[in-house]
């Protein structure tokens, strides 16, 4: 995708990851800074979202701020991986789900309204898959999120 990104796209992706304007017309503020119209800013952001480069313009919350969450890991036999991944994806509580190169090969984040709902969900996944789930809840967050400086070459 990088070679199809314009200089304006790159600035939209890189320069507004934090301190996004909290004004009545934030896209007009971006437009002023970039020297284009508000409508162009909105159309370019929509296009970047449609292409998957932008997930959203929004708030990154401090962890553990709302509800209960954990990182879960499972050691899934290769032959069952797609099936178990689909099972896990089916829960609305799961927001990230990756295969990783390790004996523990399925890693996903589970969030729930409270601790009971979280534990129930983990147990439900164990029951439906027949595979134990490791739960690795967060104790501390050390990262101060300033966004991610993108490098284009």
């Amino acid at each position: 995708m990088n070679n199809t990104l314009s200089e304006l796209d790159k600035r939209l992706l890189n320069d507004f990851q934090r301190d996004f304007p909290l004004s009545n017309t934030p896209f007009a503020d971006l437009a002023l800074e970039l020297g284009i119209s508000q409508q162009e800013v909105i159309e370019k952001l929509r296009s970047l979202a449609e292409r998957g480069a932008v997930s959203r313009i929004g708030a990154v919350l401090r962890p553990k701020q709302m509800g209960a969450s954990t990182l879960a890991a499972m050691a899934v036999p290769k032959s069952q991986l797609d099936q178990v991944a689909r099972l896990v994806n089916g829960y609305p509580h799961v927001n990230h789900n990756y295969e990783r190169e390790h004996r523990y090969n399925l890693w996903f984040v589970v969030t729930a309204g409270d601790e009971d709902e979280l534990q129930y969900t983990l147990q439900d996944i164990e029951q439906h898959s027949g595979i134990p789930v490791l739960s690795l809840p967060m104790l501390d967050d050390y990262h101060i999120d300033l966004g991610f400086e993108l490098q284009w070459d």
């Binding site: 507004f16 009545n24 990182l71 089916g90 829960y91 104790l139 501390d140 990262h143």
Partner: protein, 183 residues
């Protein structure tokens, strides 16, 4: 709730904050007055949305507010979760050192799950290819004096699901905790 962060800011959220966060879960709508639009779905006016976001940023409830990119789509194809087994009493010191590197995009201490999983310090590193990520891990180990501590590098292979966390769900989903039909 009386929660405070290390700077002494009040981290508690009231019911209107929670409604605002719920309305923002999918991000700002791409319209000329996005905060007014968010306010309309959260039951508050534009000024209140902006004031509440200011306050949550100041207190640290919101770590940052802005464009959230997808690394993979931008060519960062190698993504490694690096885990270390660190003595508990050194976790904060080492976690802060690891987190201070700009190529580290997440850094957490997590509970161990013994005997299966001894690791307690996690960080995420994105790179354009595996070699670049390995180089960064080697650099991190030297820079933070982690040579004596066992670690593993878990590269991601397939991505089955990626989206922002949903803390607030429609009632129908909350009521049905099972997997979706066909899942």
């Amino acid at each position: 709730m009386g929660l405070e962060n290390t700077n002494g800011y009040d981290l508690s959220l009231d019911e209107r904050d929670c409604r605002l966060i719920a309305a923002l879960q999918n991000g700002l709508p791409l319209v000329p007055h996005p905060y007014a639009a968010i306010g309309a779905s959260a039951g508050m006016n534009e000024a209140e949305v902006i004031a509440r976001l200011h306050r949550m940023l100041e207190s640290g409830v919101v770590k940052r507010f802005g464009v959230v990119v997808r690394h993979h789509e931008l060519g960062y194809r190698a993504n490694a979760m690096v885990v270390w087994d660190v003595p508990d009493e050194r976790a904060t010191e080492l976690g802060q050192r690891v987190a201070s590197h700009d190529f580290v995009t997440l850094c957490y201490r997590r509970a161990r799950c013994l005997p299966d999983w001894p690791y307690n310090l996690y960080c995420m590193i994105h790179g354009r290819d595996r070699n670049l990520v390995h180089n960064k891990v080697s650099y991190l180990i030297k820079a933070c004096d982690l040579q004596a501590l066992r670690h593993e590098v878990l590269f991601s292979l397939q991505r089955f699901k990626q989206r922002g966390a949903r803390y607030v769900r429609p009632a129908a989903e909350t009521a049905n905790l099972g997997p979706a039909v066909g899942g």
